[in-house]
Every structure is written in structure tokens, then in C-alpha cells.
């Protein structure tokens, strides 16, 4: 080799090596910053907070306002929810009854952090300790001196009025439980020192976001201490806590909560099917189906740290006796026992879409399956694609084509959806996938025939043909829409709002990282929770104080 060219060649080699290294450790693009939210705790989070803070023996009474699904997530609905009058009555009922129960325990010696001098007289030091400890856990941040002073006054006043210090503490606790600082997640921001003109969540607000994303629970004492010590101001400190939370057994709970929201499992509540058409159906069966799906998800994504895409092709699941009846498989399990189960290739089952939970989750048709609804569910829940609503003046005479009374299968009944151009535009989006699911009835049992006619489950998705649901699962496995959807939803779920336009590039970065990590869910959660975007707030979102 010519000497001059060698040095040039070496430089080129080093340069390309540098480029390769840079690509592998691509830096996170900055975003426009998001907004803070004022997000109501849902029933599960409220109850879990009470159990975490006061112990499992405390009963949480009363009814919670129904959740609100907005832009695909209940988490976003919680950021827009308003407490109704009857809802507030219920919060007040809970505040009274929970604080009464806590103090009943305390009088037996367990909850009081201090032994007051006398139970008839206000003990400032004991009250301060009590209110400070529970205030910090309930508000998910230390009380300010102003809040503390006001609370001590209130406890003192009640003690004087009733002659009972423990009643004073009880009502102080009730007052904390009625505060919007407990019932809602309040997010405070501060100027971001690393980025002029932008803000970031303060330590405690960030701790809460991380904890609710990964555990669906308020920050534990260790995370609160890390926030207090300023550890969340450095990337290393954040990552340490994020890794701790992901490694914990409580991570499974967070994953369940996320998928319950993303896959709209709240619709299992009150799901009913007509008993005379589906005698095997019962509320217990629907609970089992939901649990089977969640166990499959947790096993693949958390325990085995598997590839998210494999959810659409996996044959590994869990069974119990009740489910064995609708899958028509023998299950060797005790009465309330779950056992691992693997489908064989002839079983027509592979992937989430072939599990009963997904198949029965249509709240509007109690007597049959609806391909349009099921197809819509796949589009909206798994692919994050919006399906336009039907036009209000649909002329259903087209659907009732009386010249062909042999409408034995759903595919035949929905001919008009395909053939009529007015209908086909939208129904081409939903029906084909739903028709692939027609081999499974409204409670998830397999069927090859409907009303005596063979079910044709073929179709094509994104240009690729499939002959049945199992093949569709494989195509979904390979589709980027599936992985982009879960990363978008995980972020939106974490921040409680739809992704903003100025965050789209960042989301692509997250998608690339997700792919590099082998599409593991813990990896995705880690990327999101430890990111700058997760804690970044734009200045316009925070009006001048």
C-alpha cells in the first residue's frame, strides 16, 4: 500500500469506528417538554396507597367514580377527571372511616409513632411526628411548615373540643385524606439548570411519576429518601432508583396495571354474556380469562424478559380448570390452581389474540361475536390506530339484502361492509381482522363452522396475506406498528397525557432503543423512566406564578 494512502485509510477507519460507537450510544434527543397533570388516583392506586401506608388490615369503604377512558388510556382520563358531588361524599366517607380505623389500631399501640404524655391533652411533639410522618407518605412529599402549622392547630382545636388527643389526631388524618394533595397527584416544577428556558419536575414529583409507572403505587420510603437527598438530580441517581424498582417483585404489579389500561381490561367489569346461549360463561370465567392473559404477559415480558412481539405468537400460557372447559383441553390442576400450559401447533392457539380474554372482551354484544368490534379493538388497542366513527346517517337497508337470505356466517352478513364503497372505507380497517377471529366465539371457544357453514378466516394485513388468526399473529409480530404502539402508550401512561408533537422525534429514539434492547419491556420502561423527556416540562405550560 502506498504510504500516504495508509494514513488516510487509518483515519477513515478510526472515523467510521467513532461513528459506529456514536450510533450505539446515540444521545437522547431533547423534546419540547410536556405539561404537568393534575391526575386523580384511581380506585386501585387509592386503595394501594392506604394499604402501603397504614397496613393491610384497613378496609377502604365506599364507591369510586367510574374511570374515564380518553385518547386510548384511563391514565389520560384520570388527568381530565372531575370529582362529582357523590364522588366527594364518598371521599369524605373514606377519610372518616379510614382515620377511625387507623386510630382504633393506634389505641392498641401499633400506629402511633410516639407515646403521648396523656391522651387527654394535646402533645405538640407527638402530633408533629404523627402528622409529619403520615403527611409525607400521603402527600408523597414532606409537608411545608405552613401546612404543618395549620394541621397542628387543627389537631389542637379538636383535642380541646373533645377532650381526646387521639380524636384530634384522627381528624388531622381525615383532613390529610380529604386533601387534593392526596387524592390527586400534584406535580410541581422548578427551572431546569441544564436547559435554559425549560423546567423540570421537582424531586418528589419525579419520584411519584417513576413509582406509579413502574409499580402503580406511591413512592416507598427509600425512594422518598432518595428524593430528599437530592439523588434524583443526577442521571446516575435516577437510574439507580429505576433499576431498583424494576428489579423488585413489585414491578409485576406495575406491568399488570399498564397492560390492564392499554388493553382496556376494565371492560371485564360488568361483562356479561347471555347465559342461555353461553351456559359455560360466568363472572368467574371472565376473571379467569383476564388473569390468564395477564399471567401470560407477565411470564413472557417480566419473568423471562422476552420480546414484546412474541406476545402475538407465543404458545406458552397458563390454565386452570375453568378455562380448560372453554379451550377444551385437559388441565391437570387442583381446584384453584394455575398451571403452565403450552398449546400444540394443531390447537389453533398462538398469541394474545387467540386467548379467551381478548376474544370475549366485547361489552356490547352479549349473544354473539362482532368482527367489526373485535377488529376495531385490535386497531385501537394494539396498533394505536384511530378508527373513524360510523357516519350518523348510515342506511342499513344495504345490509339487509333480502335477495340472499343465506346469511349464515358473519362474513356473509357483512358483505355490504366490503362491497359498498361508502362502508368499505372504514370497514376495510376493522372487519378483516375481526373476521379472522370468527373461529373463536364470544367466549373464546374454537369453532370451525358457524350455523353449519365453514368459517373463512383469511385476509391480509399491511399487504401480507394470512389464512387464520395464528398467521395474522405472526404478521402482527413483524409489524412496526405493534412495537411503536406499546412504546407510545407506555410513555403516555407514564406522563398522563397524549404524546406532544415536539416529542415525536424522541419517541422514534425510544423505538430504536427498544429494538436494540430486543423489545424487552423492562428495557422500555427503563428508557422512559430515566429519560430527560419524562421529567421535562415546557415553560409555557406553567403560567407565571
Amino acid at each position: 500500500m502506498v504510504p500516504g494512502h495508509r494514513s488516510l485509510w487509518c483515519t477513515a477507519l478510526m472515523l467510521s469506528a467513532c461513528l459506529v460507537l456514536t450510533a450505539a450510544h446515540a444521545t437522547e434527543p431533547l423534546t419540547s417538554g410536556g405539561t404537568t397533570t393534575f391526575r386523580r388516583l384511581n380506585e386501585v392506586q387509592y386503595t394501594r396507597s392506604i394499604v402501603d401506608i397504614f397496613g393491610a388490615g384497613i378496609r377502604v369503604p365506599g364507591r369510586f367514580d367510574p374511570g374515564l377512558r380518553d385518547e386510548g388510556l384511563l391514565a389520560i382520563g384520570d388527568s381530565r377527571a372531575v370529582v362529582s358531588s357523590s364522588g366527594l361524599e364518598q371521599y369524605e366517607l373514606r377519610a372518616r372511616e379510614i382515620s377511625a380505623q387507623v386510630m382504633a389500631e393506634a389505641r392498641k399501640g401499633s400506629a402511633l409513632p410516639c407515646i403521648p404524655g396523656s391522651l387527654r391533652v394535646f402533645d405538640q411533639a407527638c402530633a408533629r411526628q404523627f402528622v409529619g410522618q403520615f403527611g409525607r407518605l400521603l402527600f408523597r412529599r414532606p409537608l411545608t411548615s405552613g401546612e404543618m402549622a395549620a394541621l397542628l392547630n387543627e389537631v389542637s382545636a379538636v383535642t380541646k373540643k373533645t377532650g381526646d388527643f387521639s380524636r384530634g389526631l384522627e381528624l388531622g388524618l381525615a383532613r390529610l385524606l380529604m386533601s387534593p394533595y392526596f387524592i390527586f397527584r400534584v406535580e410541581t416544577t422548578e427551572p431546569d439548570p441544564g436547559r435554559m428556558g425549560f423546567r423540570r419536575l421537582d424531586d418528589y414529583s419525579l419520584a411519584a411519576r417513576i413509582s406509579f409507572l413502574l409499580w402503580d403505587a406511591p413512592p416507598d420510603a427509600e425512594l422518598l429518601d432518595a428524593a430528599a437527598a437530592g439523588a434524583l438530580r443526577q442521571q446516575a441517581g435516577i437510574e439507580q432508583q429505576v433499576d431498583r424498582l424494576i428489579a423488585s417483585p413489585r414491578f409485576e404489579q406495575g406491568v399488570r396495571a399498564f397492560f390492564t389500561d392499554m388493553y382496556a381490561f376494565d371492560r371485564f367489569d360488568g361483562l356479561s354474556k347471555d347465559q342461555s346461549i353461553f351456559p359455560k360463561y360466568s363472572t368467574q370465567l371472565s376473571k379467569d380469562a383476564e388473569e390468564q392473559t395477564l399471567r401470560t404477559i407477565v411470564d413472557l415480558l417480566v419473568d423471562r424478559k422476552g420480546d414484546y412481539r412474541d406476545l402475538f405468537t407465543t404458545r406458552s400460557t397458563f390454565m386452570n380448570r375453568g378455562l380448560g372447559l372453554i379451550y377444551k383441553v385437559p388441565v391437570n390442576a387442583g381446584l384453584n390452581e394455575w398451571v403452565r400450559y403450552s398449546f400444540s401447533p394443531e390447537d389453533h392457539r398462538a398469541g394474545l389474540l387467540t386467548l379467551a380474554g381478548f376474544l370475549m372482551l366485547d361489552p356490547s354484544h352479549e349473544g354473539r361475536s362482532s368482527p367489526t368490534i373485535r377488529g376495531k379493538m385490535v386497531r385501537e388497542l394494539l396498533l394505536c390506530q384511530k378508527v373513524p366513527p360510523p357516519p350518523p346517517n348510515v342506511n342499513f337497508n344495504i345490509v339487509q339484502d333480502t335477495s340472499n337470505p343465506l346469511y349464515k356466517t358473519a362474513r356473509q352478513r357483512l358483505t355490504a361492509h366490503r362491497d359498498n364503497p361508502t362502508c368499505a372505507g372504514c370497514h376495510a380497517i376493522t372487519d378483516p381482522m375481526g373476521l379472522a377471529m370468527e373461529n373463536y366465539d364470544a367466549i373464546g371457544s374454537y369453532r370451525a363452522l358457524e350455523n353449519g357453514a365453514v368459517i373463512d378466516a383469511s385476509g391480509s394485513f399491511e399487504g401480507k396475506p394470512y389464512k387464520d388468526l395464528v398467521e395474522l399473529g405472526q404478521i402482527l409480530h413483524d409489524s412496526p406498528s405493534v412495537t411503536n404502539c406499546v412504546s407510545q402508550r407506555a410513555y403516555e401512561y407514564g406522563v398522563g397525557r397524549p404524546v406532544a408533537a415536539g416529542e415525536r422525534d424522541w419517541l422514534k429514539f425510544v423505538g430504536a432503543r427498544f429494538a436494540d434492547d430486543g423489545y424487552t419491556l423492562p428495557g422500555l420502561m427503563r428508557t422512559i423512566a430515566a429519560s430527560t423527556a419524562f421529567r421535562s416540562v415546557s415553560s409555557e405550560a406553567v403560567a407565571a406564578n
Binding site: P66, L68, A81, V82, S85, L171, T188, V394
Partner: protein
């Protein structure tokens, strides 16, 4: 005792004892007309809404004759016993004014909020304006323990057409036992009971709520601009609860016709027709007692969600699906299974009227002293039409409303009905509604 006069009753009870007694409200305590308390305070007027989903067959529902003595066709026949207490409105439309026709949503929001909504459909969505029951409750509901009571008959608490601006509904009570306990449980104070003693616990509860109000100022400064309205709403509702507790510290005024009911039996909940109707009657009975015992002045009943999921036991198809998919019977000229539900909905409304009308209050009945706005979100659900929305108003608002008529709308917005109702209830409203539905023309025939 010689004669039941006010004077004799008071003398008899007071003899010797210096206690405060809440007298049962005997008719002898009313003025000569039986329409007001002898002290001069008029009997309270109540307001309610009654919603049924999936409309009517106009040809079988809308009377041909206008004015009084209108004809009852097959689908409206169930209200025959109460015909002179019900006014029928036809020809009043949801006027979109450029907004989309949101299936099973625009029609109901038009009548209940006076505006065509921009977002939503299939029985839910968002609204920029509160529903009429909230406005009425703000005007007349502050003096009772509950501003309003919402009930739904299909077992789903999210089925409710009572909303403030936003997307959150006021959730419905669905279980008669839960409703009973909320209304007549440990916190109920019988207005006709003997001596009254304010409960010190209630005062402590009030002090907790007023302490929480301290959080407001700092919180308003902390949250983003978009969330301030929701923070404000929380504290407004908190203040209302505080006031509600304050009412419990005052001796309640005696209530004519208040009879404390027994706790109902446990019932199944769900969208099966037979079950829903049974629950309707149980819930309506409790609402009627809540009204006559002055626990509330405003109520909302939802028979089902707008795309109605009511179905016959053993049938695979719900009402909503039937409206779209059931073929018209050539001989009858309508869809028989869908029409079953339409006729039964009117029967159930008649059941509510019977329950309200059987409570005697003075010279009249609870129904006479109320206004009940009954309507659906569609005219013809099969095609989601929103012209000539089926609207009924029952009751006479204690004499302020002329009932028993059929009124022609001639294409006017259905907000005219809501405007007229608010004026009849004495609310200072000169115009109501938004956009193409905005109106300042009350309906003269009934007011």
C-alpha cells in the same frame, strides 16, 4: 279533642312541656287552598329528567292533533292515565349548525344542554355546557341534603346524562339497596320526627372540610393553566358538601307526605329488560320518597345508555343492534322486536308517573308539584335522525306549567323546551343555549 285545628294541636302538645316539637304536617296546617303551608311558604317544586335510549317510531308515537285533547297512538298509549298531566312536544330539533351529527349523543345533549356537542358519540362524550338538571340543582337544590340524585336502571353507574362541562358524568346509583342506604341510612334525619338535636360529629366533619379549603390557594398556583378549572371544581364541590353538612345541623322543616320506606330486597342488576324494569321501579320509589322527604329536589333517571343495551332474556340482540339490523315487518310496517322496547320504554315512563302521582301532597300530588323532562337521543334510531326529537314534560310545577297539550315545534331548536322549563321554575334566564341552538323564545302555550 273537639276539632283538629292548628291551635288545638299546639296547645295539646305544649301542655306543660317546653320542648321543641316538629309537628307532622297535617292538612289543617295548610292554607285554605292546600297549596301552601299556612306560614306562607309554598310547597317546593321539583325537577327531574327521564331518559330512554333509541327513540321511537314517529308514525306510532307522535299525536296528529295539536293542543289539548291530543290523540294517543299505539306507542304513547301507555301514558293514557296521565294524559292531562303530560305535554308532548314534536317538531323540535337538534339544530347542528355545522357541528357533526354524533350518533346517540347529539340529540340528547341538544335537549339537555341547549347546544349541539362537538365531541362524543354512542352515549358518551364531552360537553361545553352543563346539563339542565345541574343548572336547576344550582338554583333550587342548595337547601336540601343532596343537590340531585341520579339513577340508572341497567346496573352501570357510568350511564348518566347529568354532566357539568367536560367529560365526567355525575355517576348514577344503580343498586336500590345502596341508594336506600345513602338516602335513608344512618345520616337521614326524619323531617317529621320528634325532638331534634344537632350531632356534634357533624360539626367535627364540617371542621375537617373547612380545613381542607386552606389547600386551595397554593394548589391553584401550582397546577398548570389547563387544570385550574378542575381544582376550582374540587373546592366548589367541597364547599357544597360542607353546606350539606350544615343543613344536617339545622332542624329540618316538616315534610308533608314523607313516609320513610323500608330497605328494599336485594336485586339482580343488569341490562336484561325484565331486571332493568324491576330496578327502575325500586329506584323510582326511593327517588319519590327522597323528594317527598325533602332530601333532594332534583333527580335524573336513565333507563339505559343511549345506544341501548337492553335485551330480552335469552335473546342475543340488544335494542340498539335491533334498531339497525332488524328488518321491517312488511305487514306491520315497523321492526317488531325494536318496537317492543320502544313501547315498553313508554310503559316504564308511565310507571314513574304513577309512582310520583300516587304521593299526595296537599290538594295535589308530587307529580303536580314537579316537572319531569322525558326524552331520547334520537327520533328514529335506525337512521340516527335528530329532527322532531321525542320530548315529553310531565307535571305542572305547582301550577306554573300548563300540562296536557301537544305543542308543535315547527323545526325550532329543542333548547326552547329547556328554556321554558327554567323560566317556569323561576330561574332568571332570558336566553339559553349555544350556536344554532341558542334561543330566547320560551314556549308560550305551556308557560
Amino acid at each position: 279533642m273537639a276539632k283538629w285545628t292548628r291551635r288545638n294541636v299546639l296547645k295539646g302538645i305544649m301542655g306543660g312541656a317546653g320542648v321543641t316539637v316538629a309537628l307532622p304536617l297535617l292538612d289543617c296546617l295548610l292554607d285554605a287552598n292546600g297549596e301552601a303551608l299556612a306560614s306562607g311558604a309554598p310547597l317546593p317544586v321539583r325537577f327531574g329528567t327521564w331518559f330512554w335510549g333509541c327513540g321511537v317510531n314517529a308514525a306510532r308515537w307522535t299525536p296528529d292533533k295539536f293542543g289539548s285533547d291530543y290523540d294517543l297512538k299505539a306507542e304513547l298509549a301507555p301514558i293514557a292515565p296521565f294524559k292531562d298531566k303530560v305535554t308532548v312536544f314534536s317538531g323540535f330539533n337538534c339544530v347542528l349548525g355545522g357541528r357533526p351529527n354524533l350518533a346517540h349523543w347529539s340529540g340528547i345533549m341538544a335537549t339537555f344542554t341547549g347546544a349541539a356537542p362537538s365531541k362524543g358519540g354512542m352515549g358518551g362524550g364531552s360537553t361545553d355546557f352543563p346539563t339542565i338538571d345541574c343548572l336547576v340543582a344550582d338554583a333550587i337544590g342548595a337547601g336540601t341534603r343532596f343537590r340531585s340524585i341520579e339513577v340508572a336502571c341497567t346496573g352501570q353507574s357510568s350511564v348518566s346524562y347529568s354532566m357539568r362541562a367536560g367529560s365526567t358524568v355525575n355517576p348514577s346509583e344503580v343498586d336500590p339497596i345502596s341508594l336506600y342506604r345513602r338516602l335513608f341510612g344512618p345520616e337521614f334525619q326524619d323531617p317529621n320526627a320528634g325532638a331534634f338535636k344537632p350531632d356534634p360529629e357533624v360539626m367535627l366533619r364540617q371542621s375537617v372540610l373547612s380545613a381542607v379549603m386552606e389547600d386551595r390557594v397554593k394548589l391553584m398556583r401550582t397546577v398548570g393553566a389547563a387544570d385550574r378549572a378542575r381544582v376550582d371544581q374540587y373546592f366548589t364541590t367541597l364547599r357544597q358538601l360542607e353546606q350539606q353538612l350544615g343543613l344536617m345541623l339545622e332542624k329540618p322543616a316538616p315534610a308533608l307526605a314523607c313516609v320513610v320506606p323500608k330497605e328494599p330486597e336485594r336485586s339482580e342488576l343488569g341490562p336484561v329488560w325484565e331486571i332493568a324494569v324491576r330496578n327502575h321501579d325500586a329506584l323510582a320509589q326511593l327517588v319519590a320518597m327522597a323528594l317527598s322527604c325533602n332530601q333532594t329536589r332534583v333527580f335524573n333517571v336513565a333507563l339505559s345508555t343511549a345506544p341501548s343495551n337492553l335485551r330480552r332474556a335469552g335473546s342475543a340482540e340488544a335494542f340498539h343492534e335491533l334498531t339497525h339490523e332488524e328488518p321491517v315487518d312488511e305487514r306491520l310496517g315497523y321492526q317488531p322486536k325494536s318496537t317492543f322496547f320502544m313501547e315498553k320504554s313508554m310503559e316504564t315512563f308511565a310507571s314513574l308517573l304513577r309512582i310520583l302521582d300516587s304521593v299526595k301532597e296537599g290538594d295535589g300530588t308530587l307529580l303536580d308539584h314537579s316537572l319531569v323532562l322525558a326524552t331520547s337521543e334520537s327520533n328514529f334510531a335506525k337512521l340516527h335522525t335528530i329532527e322532531s326529537l321525542p320530548i315529553l314534560v310531565a307535571g305542572a310545577a305547582g301550577g306554573k306549567w300548563r300540562s296536557g297539550l301537544h305543542v308543535a315545534g315547527k323545526g325550532d331548536p329543542s333548547s326552547r323546551v329547556g328554556l321554558t322549563i327554567q323560566q317556569a321554575l323561576g330561574m332568571p334566564v332570558a336566553s339559553w343555549g349555544d350556536g344554532a341552538m341558542k334561543t330566547s323564545q320560551p314556549i308560550r302555550e305551556v308557560s
